[in-house]
């Protein structure tokens, strides 16, 4: 493959001046448009100097599969109409779990091209109406239905297979995966938008209380790791990935407002400028030269860093696509924060915890915050928005970070989208 390594730049600068999200979780009786309205209204309220929504010129909506999840196709114009923005153009962008990141990229390019000055980027997914098996089947369609799925693979299964390759190559123990899940629950407990806003210790306490109330034997876990090793509390999904290694089935929506850089201060004095963007694609997992890294993530990151003119060490806030715990470890290497094979040690040593030297997923990540797949890539931007503006509350990072990065993966890495943001 020859690909020119010309450093690409946007035609003009683009800034994020508003960001909002619905709570992520399971919401019977609310469909994706209802959740989109919640994200949209929070986004409007987040614009520091106020904003007339009639100034929005176009909508870019990330969504994986409203068709299969809620029997509704053609969702983008519905979102536009439901917030009163028809007849503005609205387009749905689908790249599996990277749909949100891909929608952001399309919105960025639309403003950078000069076609529009103000656009809305949304991400939506409503997953919990279907039974688990049908959710599993729907997610499986993000893989190759002709050559991968007939093998019996599921999405937890693909990432579990990456985990076995990683363990064999680098000697990582299965416990380190549980530690990543533990860490993300610690942060998610500080996020009021998180689906599982509970520490593992809180979940254990609740289970004990519930058992006592029902007159059942009270579990005797001595600590969190004992709970996470318990096959009943934390059943195997696809060895070595257990339930608490997997992001949940979620409903949710997120929305951000993008404007051309020249007019950003009309809306806020603390906007996030998108200084780096990269997206890459790939084939089936089995066709890759490596199973212990995601090549599309490395390529997307390389392009984003080059455009931004920054190095991994410069980044202060990082949201990575931890659809499974192994994915967070691999991402921490693909993004250049750790050398290949060193990511698991950093996770084990607490380097990636909120108080560590390289905090990852302060929002709780997809594991704890939830993973409404088409919304996740946009939801990541909300954490960067809050952290870089000093609005992350109890989970706010020290040191007044000014650079943030989002890493959004589709499938097993058939797509990866990376963005780098700078607060100015």
């Amino acid at each position: 493959m020859t690909l020119t390594n010309t450093i690409r730049k946007f035609g003009r600068g683009v800034a994020v001046v508003g960001a909002g999200m619905s709570k992520f979780g399971a919401f019977p009786g609310k469909n994706s448009r209802d959740l989109f309205v919640e994200a949209y209204q929070e986004m409007l309220a987040s614009v520091d100097k106020g904003f007339d929504p009639r100034d929005i010129e176009a909508l870019f909506i990330g969504n994986y599969s409203s068709d299969l999840f809620e029997n509704q196709g053609h969702t983008a114009p519905i979102m536009a109409d439901w917030v009163g923005l028809a007849p503005r153009p609205a387009v749905r962008i689908e790249d599996a779990c990277a749909s949100g990141g891909a929608a952001l990229r399309q919105g960025l390019m639309a403003v950078a091209s000069g076609l529009y000055d103000i656009v809305l980027v949304g991400g939506i997914e409503k997953m919990t109406d279907l039974p688990t098996e049908r959710v599993t089947d729907t997610l499986a369609t993000a893989a190759d239905m002709v050559y991968e799925i007939p093998a019996g693979f599921t999405f937890p299964g693909f990432y579990a297979a990456m985990a076995t390759a990683y363990m064999a190559q680098y000697g990582a123990p299965t416990d380190v995966f549980l530690q990543v899940g533990y860490k993300n629950h610690e942060s998610g407990a500080l996020n009021d938008k998180a689906q599982f806003g509970q520490r593992i210790a809180d979940i254990m306490e609740a289970r004990k209380k519930s058992a006592a109330k029902k007159g059942q034997p009270i579990p005797t876990w001595a600590n969190e790791m004992e709970f996470l090793h318990d096959n009943r509390a934390n059943p195997m999904i696809a060895w070595p990935m257990r339930l608490y290694d997997c992001s949940p089935i979620s409903d949710g929506a997120a929305a951000v407002l993008l404007v051309s850089e020249e007019i950003a201060n009309r809306f806020t004095d603390a906007s996030l400028h998108v200084i780096g963007a990269g997206q890459a694609s790939d084939g089936a997992l089995h066709d890759r030269a490596t199973l212990t890294a995601i090549p599309s993530a490395k390529k997307a990151a390389q392009d984003a860093y080059a455009m931004a003119g920054v190095k991994p060490a410069d980044i202060g806030v990082v949201e990575v696509h931890d659809c499974f715990t192994i994915a967070e470890i691999v991402a921490s290497e693909d993004l250049g924060f750790f050398a290949p094979g060193e990511g698991w040690k950093a996770a084990e040593d607490g380097v990636t915890a909120r108080g560590g030297a390289r905090p990852i997923n302060t929002s709780g990540g997809l594991k704890s915050k939830g993973h409404p797949v088409g919304a996740s890539g946009v939801g990541q931007v909300i954490e960067i928005w809050k952290q870089l503006r000093g609005q992350a509350g109890a989970r706010q990072l020290d040191g007044n970070p000014s650079l943030g990065l989002t890493h959004n993966v589709g499938g097993t890495g058939q797509t990866c989208v990376v963005h780098i943001f700078e607060r100015r």
């Binding site: 599993t136 089947d137 002709v146 799925i149 019996g152 693979f153 064999a168 199973l291």
Partner: protein
Amino acid sequence: MVDNIFTGTAFYKAVGEHKLMGTRCKACGEIHLPPRPICPKCLSGDVAWVEFGGKGKLTAFTVIYIAPTAMIAAGYGRNNPYIAGIVQLEEGPSVSAQILGLDATKPESIAIGAPLTASFVERGEGEAKKTFLAFNA
């Protein structure tokens, strides 16, 4: 008029005859499995069928407890987990396949690098009967 014969339908027709067929690029010699009409290495469209020997080694695997509906219909699930894996063939390319003949209840005992041989599994009845590619220890 291009009539692409290097299709998934052709691949699975060969699997139905218990043959593992891919392509070889006549321009650069790259071998592909499954078959590809365009060589991803040199972009040539000049490819020919090649049959694989069926010997390979395990490069990654998992034991699946929460199965998709197709595998549940085949009798798998929480109480009867199965192994899915990636197998690198001796000729170079890798494929995804169910792995048979290894103990799914003892994943710690399964070695990356284990030698495997292609085998073919029939599932379904009558019209719905299909042959799937698997590998056996």
